[in-house]
Amino acid sequence: MNGTLAIFRRELAAYFNTPLAYVFIVIFLFVTSIFTFNLGNFFQRGQADLRAFFSFHPWLYLFLVPALSMRLWAEERKQGSIELLLTLPVSLAAAVLGKFLAAWAFTTIALALTFPMWLTVAYLGDPDHGVIVAGYVGSALMAGGYLAIGSCLSALTRNQVIAFVLSVVVCFLFTVSGAPIVLDFFAGWAPQGMIEQVAQFSFFRRFQAIANGVIDLRDLVYFITLIGFWLFANLIVVEVKKAG
């Protein structure tokens, strides 16, 4: 527990010690605004909700989150500091968790900084605040899912670019697994039941469900399980690399 907390604090501070945090937050806020107001037709829709805002989050995270997660382990390997980290009296699980939670906290901070959107709709109309809260919860959970995938893949390599590309590809598959592009691949030969299962893996669908204001326990369990699975895989990857 000590170890997780110490690593969490160090990692979170590390974002703000470098320009990374500021660049990320500025770009995140800028791009969400563009998407919401221009592509999402926020004003033209004439509705006091944040649907236009949230609907772009899966696509935004697809590129921004791997940019954040790529450094988690690859950078440690590159700098050699992983040798220090793994010889401290901290369990590997604590290290994996500490790093992930710090990255997750950071994305949540970035997400929280979009609060002026909420203020805007509250000023312009009378939005359903429950739905907006659900949207934020869903968005944070989805960011956690992307981060867990990225963290695991980052542990595979010392090259951050490789980690980034791998993460984008895998995250893309998870995002679109409910879309025809993936389902068509299975449609020719796989049984209907399996196609349904694949579709169930879609971040997009799960997130949409939550963002519509229905926080279904199954969707929560889905994201938590997914994060748990990838973090466990992350741990295995680091352990296996130790044994060579």
Partner: protein
């Protein structure tokens, strides 16, 4: 007394390469063991297994009785480790870095403050505490790494090339530091600077191609040198070289400079008395006469082949 570090049949393979091949040794408190060996001999790999960074392919390591694989946290808590190249987090300052290490080691706030102050003082990094590690010179980085290793006053210290990249004064300081800690700790250092072995180690081990090829006190290793007990003599007398070669215990005579000779003894012999007697009888005037202990680098080259391995 129970050994602080027990290494038993340690093996590490990287694919087809066996980097460490069945290494067994023990280190007790008060010992400073120097790992010697050519680059790629397996020194660092052995250290990485002792500290739990790499998992051994076979064999086991116990630190103060704790198996590094079975009880990693207990073992790691007792080890101070300076990895090769002294890696740290470049975005941190030495102050925040040491605070981080203290927290992961579970030191209480007050203890941590004292231990950090002490470590900072010991390695003399007080003037760069608030500078990011990224901007520090190689010598300072190495000292930050050392501070991190001694922070929790561990009974076992593993230092991979602790003086690499330091200037002669800093080298001397680090050696003094190691010597001062030696009585209460079990210490392993790796080095390729042979004078360092003489300066700080109570025991030296030569590793070549993953195998331990020599183990003993620096004096014992020196005694294996062909130059052990060699006599260096400087005289202006004519015909000295031929006369010296005639002596019974002399294997060969090397001319170092005009009138200066190094007289190599036959194995186990000591030709000093014979040389002195000869000089007295012939009435040579002697400017210099000294016995040599032997040179570690000769032993090192002899044992590890020096890149000119004789075909078996």
């Amino acid at each position: 007394m129970q050994a602080k570090i027990e290494v038993d049949g340690l093996v590490r393979r990287f694919g087809p390469l066996t980097a460490v091949d069945d290494v067994t040794f023990q280190v007790t408190q008060g010992e400073v063991l120097g790992f010697l060996g050519p680059n790629g001999a397996g020194k660092s790999t052995t250290m990485k297994m002792i500290t739990g960074y790499l998992t051994p392919s076979a064999g086991q390591v116990r630190v103060c009785g704790f198996d590094v694989v079975q009880e990693p946290l207990s073992a790691k808590a007792l080890i101070g480790y300076l990895p090769e190249g002294a890696p740290a987090y470049p975005d941190m300052t030495p102050a925040s870095f040491l605070a981080f290490c203290a927290r992961t080691r579970g030191l209480a706030a007050e203890t941590a403050r004292q231990r950090i102050a002490q470590a900072v003082d010991t390695v003399a990094i007080g003037d760069v505490l608030e500078q990011s590690i990224d901007t520090l010179s190689k010598g300072y980085k190495r000292r930050v790494g050392l501070a991190q290793a001694i922070l929790h006053d561990p009974p076992v210290l593993i230092l991979d090339e602790p003086t690499d990249g330091l200037d002669p004064n800093q080298k001397h300081e680090v050696r003094t530091l190691i010597a001062n800690m030696a009585t209460e700790k079990a210490i392993i250092i790796s080095t390729h600077i042979l004078e360092e072995v003489d300066a700080v180690c109570t025991r030296a081990m030569i590793i070549d191609k993953g195998r331990m090829v020599a183990d003993g006190t620096p004096e014992m290793l020196q005694a294996r040198s062909p130059g052990h007990n060699a006599v260096v003599v400087r005289t202006s007398a004519d015909g000295a070289e031929a006369a010296l070669f005639e002596l019974a215990d002399v294997a060969r005579v090397e001319t170092l400079a005009a009138g200066t000779y190094r007289i190599y003894p036959r194995a186990g012999r000591q030709p000093l008395a014979a040389v002195a007697e000869l000089a007295r009888r012939r009435g040579w005037s002697i400017d210099h006469l000294a016995v040599e202990a032997g040179r570690l680098d000769e032993v090192f080259r002899q044992i590890t082949g020096g890149g000119r391995r004789h075909a078996a």
